[in-house]
Symmetry: C2
Subunit: 342 residues, 2 copies
């Protein structure tokens, strides 16, 4: 190893955000790279995945996962290369899926590592064939279960989960309406991903244009954003609609309940009158049961060109905080990945 590689750069949680995260909530630290012990490997991060769920880990309110401790390394999925190995199952040079977090080096005992089979495109292990793809596949097929001819609506349609949801729904014969931020993203969603329609979420007339785009109502709403999109969707849901719920990114920076009209009782009445199913899910619960089936199916779709995904690659770990802050504002276009090392 060169001297250069003996330093680990890592980004830690400097302070808990009050509302939207700022650059000051992160801090870069540099230290000697860790040394792998018996049965351990030293990993070098090639790609770091940036995902909305990370916002939740920055807060210490009740959530489905423990928060990142102050001054601890930010968590995150990575594609990493084995640099040194004291583990019989891993060899130097091997590419693995890991949870190394926002840093250039990490050690692992191997228990959280999965081989990356897409050697020609390793970052796909963080997107099409990784957590976002699995989230889309499980939520759409196991909860949404669209039937041919039904209408599926998904927001953040140019993002990794939304774009995969829409493409799988098309494979299943549904009519698919996306919602994305701006005309350029909408064009991409229709022209490149094959959605039937895509609406600009910034459009002041979203409720009306969604109603026009969904003349037969909405049978499946894949919920990953909440907020204004949810408000536009709700009156259009059909009897028997299904609503897989995997994210509420528009709410993640909220500072608590807002005053105004309490819409919860009316929402429950809608669920009753229209026999709607809402199912929250966290994809981490489903690896043991369904991950192999997902990988098998998705690999084939990717190979057949039926499902694709644009990647938004940011160069350099030091740019991760700014990219992540932009992600929560919808500034990314496709799957946001940080290229950490060659």
């Amino acid at each position: 190893m060169t001297k250069d590689t003996s330093l680990n750069h890592r980004i830690v949680l400097n302070s808990r955000p009050d509302g939207a995260p700022t650059p000051q909530d992160f801090r870069m630290e540099t230290e000697n790279a860790p040394v792998p012990g018996d049965g351990q490997v030293l990993l070098r991060t090639l790609f770091l995945s940036l995902d909305p769920y990370m916002r939740g880990r920055m807060s210490d309110g009740p959530s489905y996962a423990a928060p990142v401790a102050l001054n601890a390394t930010m968590v995150g999925g990575t594609v990493s290369r084995v640099e040194r190995s004291n583990h019989p199952k891993f060899k130097p040079g091997q590419i693995v899926l890991s949870n190394a977090g926002w840093q250039t080096y990490a050690v692992s005992d191997g228990s959280d590592l999965l081989p990356v089979e897409t050697a020609d495109h390793p970052s796909h292990a963080l997107s099409l064939l990784g957590m976002p793809g699995f989230t889309a596949w499980h939520g759409l097929l196991k909860i949404g279960a669209p039937r041919p001819g039904e209408t599926v609506v998904v927001a953040a349609a140019s993002g990794p989960v939304g774009s995969i949801v829409g493409q799988i729904a098309k494979i299943k014969g549904a009519r698919v309406v996306g919602i994305a931020g701006g005309a350029e993203k909408c064009r991409y969603v229709i022209d490149e991903l094959g959605f039937d329609a895509c609406l600009d979420r910034r459009d002041a007339g979203l409720a009306q244009s969604l109603s026009t785009a969904c003349p037969d109502g909405i049978d499946v709403y894949f919920e990953n954003v909440g907020g204004d999109v949810f408000d536009a969707v709700l009156p259009l849901l059909n009897v028997g609609a299904r609503m897989p719920l995997c994210g509420l990114v528009s709410q993640y920076n909220d500072r608590g309940a807002k005053s105004g009209v309490n819409r919860l009782p009316g929402f429950m009445m809608t669920l009753l009158a229209k026999r709607i199913r809402v199912q929250g899910f966290i994809i981490g619960d489903h690896y043991a049961d369904e991950h192999a089936a997902f990988v098998g199916e998705m690999k084939q779709w990717v190979a057949d060109g039926k499902v694709k995904l644009r990647e938004d690659i940011v160069d350099g770990l030091e740019n991760a905080p700014e990219a992540f802050i932009g992600l929560l504002q919808g500034k990314n276009f496709g799957k946001l990945v940080v290229k950490v090392s060659q």
Copy 2:
């Protein structure tokens, strides 16, 4: 027939309620009994079922079923006796389940009639073996699906649906906590129906006492009331909880959304973080697929003494409006049935 029986007394919708129904929203009319035509039968109502869903039919807002027209007979399930028959499948004297509504006589072409097999206790066709029993069975078993040792909470626990939900949950090995209005009902729910605990919904400390009664949290909340009970349940729901939603009786008289804090975004976040399933249902959707299975199972449970139900029988059709108004206030104790004729 005697002269007496040639008159049909019926209760019609006189006006649409603004909030809680009043006696003035109903009107009794008297007219000649209808004459059955070819292929029709004349039915005499023996028992009329009073159920919370009828409140929804009195309003003309969006709902899952068409409203009752002004000046039309109030709808309702009945146990009726065939008085005259021009239909080959029905004989005078036969007891049938019907939708004759709030009146003493009705004609039917037979398509909506089901034989009543519980000749020794015909009103059971409106309760244990009727719509309330089927609602409890479907919602608890097909949506709630409690596992042995899990905690099930149900409100209106001395009412027909709630009391059956709790008894079936006990059969399935769950711990069952009921909520009912007043000490007498709570004693009945524990001593007679075998619930593990029952709390008074009027108790100002309901949230705290429910927390104490559910030390392992809540896995299934069978939602039929909404309001304060829902508020007490929500913080106690476990990861993976299921919430069959068949009624919101505490809201039925509401006049629109209330101002205050908008709790909907926080509710969605809870569904996500705890992977909770909410499923609205209307039992009318499930007769074709599941009714036979329900009847088979429930008959056996009733015969074995494992499921029972208190009936609250009101004498005389003219007393139906007052009884129904009381039902929405929780004044009934058990299944509310109007005895219309001998």
